[in-house]
């Protein structure tokens, strides 16, 4: 079955004829270059500022779990682990929810219901993160402690993921808070992506006798795949970098714990928490190195995600089965 091939991308490269075009070209190039320079400058500044810590700890910084500002021993492993695990948890919850909601809004929902829901989704995206954090402490954490964690512990307690005392506060709470914060982003962007899929795609699939679900799966989701990955990456970016809401519910304990009930810590949180009062040079350098590491982790995770998309068939390509 061959479904419609995507519109081929034509490189439009008009030769600059007049002065206006040339000026525009220079200005736009400068704008693009500035962005690149900014990123480079950030990396250089962070490497420079974190040099004392790099010299003192070397690669040990990445594998050590000790974080002792008094003895000036610093290791980033618990923070890297906490950032990755909390973001992974968030995506596990938010991706099915966000893309599901987007499919409903773009494909299935009756027309009158779409604007209010879309409006509400965007409203949720605008709530400041400290509000989520407070809500997390006062509503979510007690809820988890009294209801969710005891039940999880009883039914799935044989898994090391669900063991230990139920504090409410901890990795699970952080993952759920992040998921709630990320869902509106994924939903809003995915919805736009799905709406941008040309109707000819759907018509062609339907004409070939596909059901509603088959049409959505083959003609719509596949077509918009790279856009959907973009939506997920946007959410992931927010989850990796989120500071305030996470620090309020994660328990801020620099430990690598398997259990989701245990408290943890993230890179963004420790920088926000300790930067203002970090007086010694080595301490400050270690915190900046954490910032650099967060930068690196974000780049690597994004690159891996893009690679994943390319490896399963490229962004937009003729789809044949």
């Amino acid at each position: 079955m061959a479904v419609v091939a995507a519109v081929p991308r034509v490189e439009v490269q008009a030769a600059p004829r007049n002065l206006g075009d040339q000026v525009l070209r220079v200005v736009l190039r400068a704008a693009a270059l500035t962005l690149v320079l900014l990123v480079l400058a950030m990396v250089v500044a962070m490497v420079h500022a974190s040099w004392p810590a790099m010299r003192a700890f070397g690669w040990r910084f990445l594998v050590s779990s000790t974080w002792d500002p008094v003895a000036e021993q610093f290791g980033a492993l618990p923070f890297v682990y906490g950032t990755l695990l909390s973001s992974l948890l968030a995506l596990l919850i938010a991706v099915p929810l966000g893309i599901g909601a987007a499919i409903y809004l773009a494909e299935l929902a009756p027309a009158w219901i779409r604007p209010p829901i879309a409006f509400l989704v965007e409203l949720v995206a605008a709530v400041p993160s400290v509000i989520y954090g407070l809500w997390g402490i006062f509503v979510l954490a007690p809820l988890l402690r009294v209801w969710v964690q005891p039940v999880l512990g009883k039914t799935l307690g044989f898994l090391p993921l669900f063991q230990g005392p139920p504090y409410g506060i901890g990795m699970l709470a952080a993952g759920i808070i992040l998921a709630i914060m990320v869902v509106p982003y994924i939903t809003a962007v995915s919805r736009e992506v799905l709406l941008a899929v040309p109707n000819t795609q759907r018509e062609a699939a339907l004409a070939l006798g596909a059901t509603r679900w088959e049409t959505t799966r083959i003609a719509v989701l596949r077509y918009g795949r790279s856009g959907l990955v973009g939506a997920i990456l946007l959410g992931l970016g927010r989850a990796l970098g989120e500071t305030m809401a996470v620090t309020m519910v994660i328990g801020n304990r620099p430990e690598v714990a398997i259990s989701l009930f245990a408290p943890g810590y993230t890179m963004a949180s420790v920088v926000a928490n300790e930067f203002a009062e970090a007086t010694s040079d080595l301490y400050l350098a270690a915190l900046i190195e954490i910032g650099l590491l967060l930068f690196a982790v974000t780049v690597v995770v994004n690159a891996l995600a893009r690679l994943l998309v390319w490896s399963v068939g490229g962004p937009v390509k003729a789809i044949r089965e």
Binding site: V70, A71, L134, Y167, M248, N252, A272, N273, E274, T279
Partner: protein, 348 residues
């Protein structure tokens, strides 16, 4: 709509220029967050005393305050923990510590019916070291005869952000427990042996409120404002003292006799029957030799005012005022502030 915006903008711009900029001295400061409420009250009230001087204070944290005053990007710094000898050496010229008010740190907890609890420093240290894990541990029940304590794990809650509050608390534990001193030590952030971290006083108290069996520490002012249950703590004179503004001032009075000349003193566990043992000064950092005569004189005058008239605002904002003997010592210190070797305050 658009014109309204432009009008508002124009108004803003003209009013910014309309300030009598020529005669006003602007003094910049940065540092500790803990005393920020009273500092902003003082800076506001002081404009009535001397309309020529305006203060601009950024509460960026003690660490930032020390850094900025050392780099001379601000005219004065503020800190909750005294500067170390190395930090003082790194400064371009001699820095003075001027105590402004006192704060205290209290232990707060979540137990059924919020009973009044008593602690000793040793027991607090053992709990925060993870050696005492249950509320009905004999070491706790022995101090609290008549209170029925549940067979429940103690959930320790501490500050996750670097903070002077943490410094005061662990400074006290370090003085009381040699094990704490060796294993953990003192600092604005430490490597906590057990417990959950909460961001800010509100984060700690939020977790304590929502976690049955929790025990945490917060500033006295925060605990009083929010009606949190607080524990009395045994002081150096073997008396159990309830934390309050009076017992905090008493801590400074107790330490006044042995006050070092530079005021860099830890007030935790001081002598005195009435003294609450987990208390501390907060300081302003000013250069002894001021680089600018006008600003230097204004700053010295302000310091004099805040250590005298200014102290009456402390109570309302739940800070403990300086005890009289310490104010006398501060007077001598303020008179030492100079510009090119000449004292800035005439003899009073």
């Amino acid at each position: 709509m658009k014109t309204a915006w432009i009008m508002a903008l124009a108004l803003l711009v003209t009013s910014a220029f309309a300030q009598p900029a020529a005669t006003q001295t602007l003094i910049n400061g940065a540092g500790a967050t803990f005393p920020y409420p009273i500092y902003s009250k003082w800076f506001d009230e002081y404009t009535k005393v001397d309309p020529e001087v305006r203060f601009n204070y950024q509460s960026i944290g003690s660490g930032g305050g020390i850094k900025q005053v050392t780099a001379r990007t601000v005219d004065f710094g503020a800190t909750d923990g005294p500067m170390s000898d190395e930090q003082l050496k790194a400064a371009p010229s001699e820095l003075l510590h001027i105590p402004t008010v006192l704060g205290a740190v209290v232990a707060t907890y979540n137990l059924p019916n919020s009973p009044k609890l008593k602690f000793t420093g040793e027991v607090l240290a053992d709990v925060f070291l993870g050696k005492i894990t249950k509320w009905n541990d004999p070491k706790i029940t022995a101090l609290n005869a008549g209170v029925s304590l549940p067979d429940q794990p103690i959930v320790v809650v501490h500050r996750s952000d670097g903070s002077g509050t943490t410094y005061i608390f662990v400074d006290y534990l370090s003085k009381i427990s040699s094990e704490w001193d060796k294993k953990v030590g003192r600092g604005t952030s430490v490597n906590w042996p057990v417990g959950l971290g909460g961001k800010g006083n509100e984060g700690v108290s939020g977790q304590v409120k929502n976690q049955p069996g929790a025990l945490g520490y917060v500033e006295l002012a925060y605990a009083v404002k929010n009606n949190l249950p607080v524990a009395s703590v045994k002081n150096a004179a073997d008396k159990f003292v309830t934390p309050s503004i009076a017992s905090t001032t008493a801590a400074a009075a107790g330490a006044a006799k042995s006050m070092p000349d530079d005021f860099r003193v830890s007030l935790t566990n001081p002598p005195g029957d009435e003294a609450y043992p987990i208390a501390s000064f907060t300081w302003l950092l000013v250069y002894r030799d001021q680089p600018n005569e006008l600003k230097g004189r204004a700053l010295a005058k302000f310091l004099w005012w805040m250590s005298h008239e200014g102290q009456k605002y402390a109570d309302d904002l739940l800070y403990a005022p300086l005890p009289t003997p310490v104010v006398k010592q501060i007077e001598a210190k303020i008179k030492q502030i100079t510009y090119q070797g000449k004292p800035l305050l005439a003899a009073r």
